[in-house]
């Protein structure tokens, strides 16, 4: 082990951002006046002073290795005076003031296997969670489905020919880490069997009042098993949220046969045109089918296709569906409307149709 610092530092916070800003950014901070997309994945921003900064945006898998970061650093050292940034959707961006550097950077990044794109009316990178790579509650893998879906949709990352922006997100369980609850298309891992209870471990690991209180439907109840305090689950009241498992590790829900994936549509976070809105259930359940989840890929592809073919310019998925109505959406998507599509939790009544505004 290396020698430790003489004084143990704590609560220092992150480095001040000014330490990392390119000189052209410092000189024109807050004074940018316009931007243009020169080609998919290449932006130029112009400041009041006339200064320009070019940004070359490329997809990454979010999970990234030390050797790859060093390769990105090599490109940034060669062309960008060592400046590099990431976007809120896990794209890497190379920043330069020299227009002649744009093509060499693009070629160098693509040579590493990272397509340049993700700007304007495109499908940019998928925001996603850890999955089987690193999470304990994953009902499906994250990186694998993202890889399979993006392989299929790659042409929409490197082009800007869609009606509007399309944001896809994936969460590997109902905790919905990532903005899955507000995405144009959301892929969500789900459990469908109640927790299995290890009474022996539960006795040692879990606080029973907390575990009981964690259940939103009061399905978890205190009980005595072989003279020891434990809990039981009223199975017909369980909606597989896994909140009990979050507070009590002895109640896992993972199930290789019954876990799988659901698909949600029509959410967004931006205020442009329609207000921010939640994603709604489109496909209730698709079994896990690693390594490439072909049924999930084709379901997502189908949703992208019907939206692309029918939406008006700038209409996001949810805006298009709202215009045509949900019954027509289900008809066009070829999805059977089922009991699972009808909400039955806290806000359910706000989702029922309360008018005779129906299209036939």
């Amino acid at each position: 082990m290396t020698a430790e610092p003489a004084e143990r530092l704590t609560d220092i916070g992150p480095p001040h951002y000014e330490r990392f800003l390119p000189p052209v950014v410092k000189a024109n901070y807050g004074k940018w006046v316009s931007h243009e997309i020169l080609q998919p994945g290449v932006l130029v921003h112009t400041a009041e002073s006339g200064d320009k900064i070019y940004s070359i945006r490329a997809a990454t898998a979010r999970l990234i290795s030390v050797p790859k970061i060093r390769q990105f650093c090599d490109i940034a050292d060669k062309y960008c005076d060592g400046h590099i940034r990431w976007t809120s959707r896990n794209n890497v961006e190379f920043l330069t003031t020299k227009k002649e550097n744009v093509e060499p950077i693009k070629q160098a990044v693509e040579a590493l296997g990272h397509p340049v794109g993700g700007t304007g009316n495109s499908i940019t990178n998928i925001v996603h969670t850890q999955g089987w790579v690193h999470c304990h509650s994953a009902a499906t893998d994250a990186s694998g489905i993202v890889k399979a879906v993006m392989d299929e949709l790659m042409d929409e990352f490197t082009n800007m020919r869609l009606p509007g922006k399309l944001r896809i997100a994936l969460a590997c369980c109902l905790n919905m880490c990532g903005a899955v609850h507000c995405s144009d298309i959301a892929i969500l891992g789900i459990h469908r069997r109640p927790p299995t209870i290890d009474h022996d471990r539960l006795r040692k690991m879990c606080e029973i009042p907390n575990t009981v209180a964690a259940c939103p439907t009061a399905a978890v109840r205190p009980v005595t098993i072989d003279g020891n305090p434990s809990v039981e689950v009223i199975e017909e009241q369980c909606m597989f949220c896994a909140n009990c498992f979050t507070v009590c590790p002895s109640m896992p829900l993972n199930d290789p046969e019954y876990d799988g994936v659901s698909i949600w549509v029509g959410g967004k976070v931006s205020n442009a045109r329609h207000e921010p809105t939640f994603s709604k259930l489109a496909v209730p359940y698709i079994p896990n089918n690693p390594p490439r989840w072909p049924e999930v890929v084709s379901a997502v592809k189908n949703l992208v296709t019907i939206w692309t073919d029918n939406a008006r310019p700038y209409e996001r998925m949810g805006e298009w569906i709202e215009r045509i109505g949900w019954p027509r959406f289900f008809e066009m998507a070829g999805i059977d409307f089922q009991k699972e599509h009808i909400d039955d939790f806290k806000h359910a009544v706000t989702t029922y149709k309360t008018s005779a505004h129906l299209r036939f």
């Binding site: 916070g13 290789p256 329609h274």
Partner: protein, 408 residues
């Protein structure tokens, strides 16, 4: 044990195709790193069995902090001993994710030596996520990080690592300095970020305009969304240029798409009824060389967003319709100078009355927005609701008023 430096079987399939392969990334790390090597092995097992192999729980951390490290253990350590411990460290990112390569390279050198050589750039909340190391390495990793000028981010019932959009660093639509606020709020609340005092997690996200590139309205307990009060700036020559040179059908894709129908286009001039503009950004997004937000700028503060756990997902709702974020500050308007007190009042109330694992949005639902506003000392405003109540059961408390009068 089979050589798992290279993926085989099902995972091998995920090395094909045009999108960057996470399997290739782990393989690249595994060439020199035993933990990454066993990560491939365990992941292949998960792919074969359709089952996750990480255990839940295990409280580990660095001295003096109650967050920033997530304990992770394999449930098949006998097969994959190098990932038997595989703890995550969250590292607080620099605002807007700008880096210099020298700093990144030093983090890489440290993580190659002390961890798995695999990381997330970035995690969903915004931190750099160092994926996988052992318990004895946690303190040395922390010490090396702080010597490089980095610190851990949040986990558990703390202020989670604040994040912000690219803001004034490279965007003409930044209505306030998102980087400054992300940094300053992170520094002001270091104690709340590292030590779990709260009922549950609390997130700040700073978005420079209503396009909300950091999803603050969906993902932050307290969302700061840039906006403006005065008229949209119009360059009519540029509007005509869009119509004539770029063949933009302004009637269809701008006027028709306006949510409040506050615009008109006669083929020569674009008219905007600014009193009815909802600041949605659509027209500015489409005609960005011709239209710009107004000059009287600040932000809207919204409160309460969360994912479904536990009572269902919520979006943030308006708390302060307009707060000025930079001087000169006028009289009778909310300004950033009010922020510390506002935040203290919210945290004090929620910290005192909130239930274990109750996010502030659920807390407000339970006690009622009206009561919440009373308790934190804000006046109700019509901007806070989509519409007024429809139910007639109002909790009048006349007795309380009479008591107060008697006291006087």
């Amino acid at each position: 044990m089979a050589d798992k430096t290279k993926a085989s079987g099902k995972l091998d399939e995920l090395k094909k195709g045009p999108y960057p392969s996470f399997v290739k990334e782990i393989e690249a790390a595994a060439e020199t790193n035993k933990m990454a090597h066993d990560l491939i092995g365990q992941l292949e097992l998960s792919y074969d069995e359709k089952l996750c192999h990480w255990k839940h729980g295990g409280i580990v951390g660095v001295m003096g902090y109650g967050g920033g490290v997530i304990g992770r253990y394999s449930d098949v350590p006998e097969k994959f001993p190098n990932v038997s411990h595989f703890h995550t460290l969250r590292v607080n990112q620099p605002a807007a994710w700008f880096y210099k390569t020298d700093a990144l390279r030093k983090i890489c050198d440290m993580w190659e030596k002390r961890g798995s050589s695999v990381l997330n750039v970035h995690g969903s909340t915004g931190d750099i996520v160092l994926l996988g190391t052992t318990t004895p390495q946690l303190e040395p990793v922390f010490n090396e990080l702080t010597s490089l000028g980095f610190d851990l981010g949040g986990s558990g019932s703390v202020l989670r690592t604040p994040s912000c959009c690219v803001g004034p660093a490279r965007c003409e639509w930044a209505m306030y300095d998102t980087l400054k606020y992300a940094y300053e709020m992170t520094m002001r609340y270091q104690d709340e970020l590292h030590r779990p005092y709260f009922p549950y997690k609390f997130k700040f996200k700073f978005a420079g305009c209503p396009n909300d590139c950091v999803a603050s309205v969906a993902r932050a307990d307290m969302s700061f969304i840039g906006t403006w009060k005065d008229d949209i700036q119009i360059d009519q020559d540029k509007v005509r240029w869009y119509a004539e040179e770029r063949k933009v059908d302004i009637e269809d894709v701008v006027v028709e798409r306006c949510p409040t129908k506050c615009m008109a286009w006669d083929g020569k001039e674009l008219f905007i009824d600014n009193r009815n503009c909802a600041r949605c950004m659509h027209c500015i997004n489409v005609l960005h060389l011709a239209l710009k937000p107004g000059k009287d700028r600040g932000c809207t503060i919204m409160l309460g967003a969360k994912a479904p756990i536990l009572e269902g997902a919520q979006l943030s709702s308006v708390l302060v319709p307009f707060m000025r974020m930079a001087p000169p500050y006028g009289e009778d308007e909310a300004t950033a100078e009010d922020l510390p007190e506002l935040i203290d009042n919210i945290w004090e109330l929620w910290g005192e009355e909130g239930k274990n694992r109750e996010r502030v949005g659920e807390f407000i639902q339970r006690i009622g927005m009206g009561n919440f506003l009373d308790a934190i000392g804000l006046e109700p405003q019509a901007e806070m609701v989509a519409h007024p109540r429809t139910n007639p059961y109002v909790f009048y408390d006349l007795g309380k008023d009479e008591e107060e009068e008697e006291d006087e």
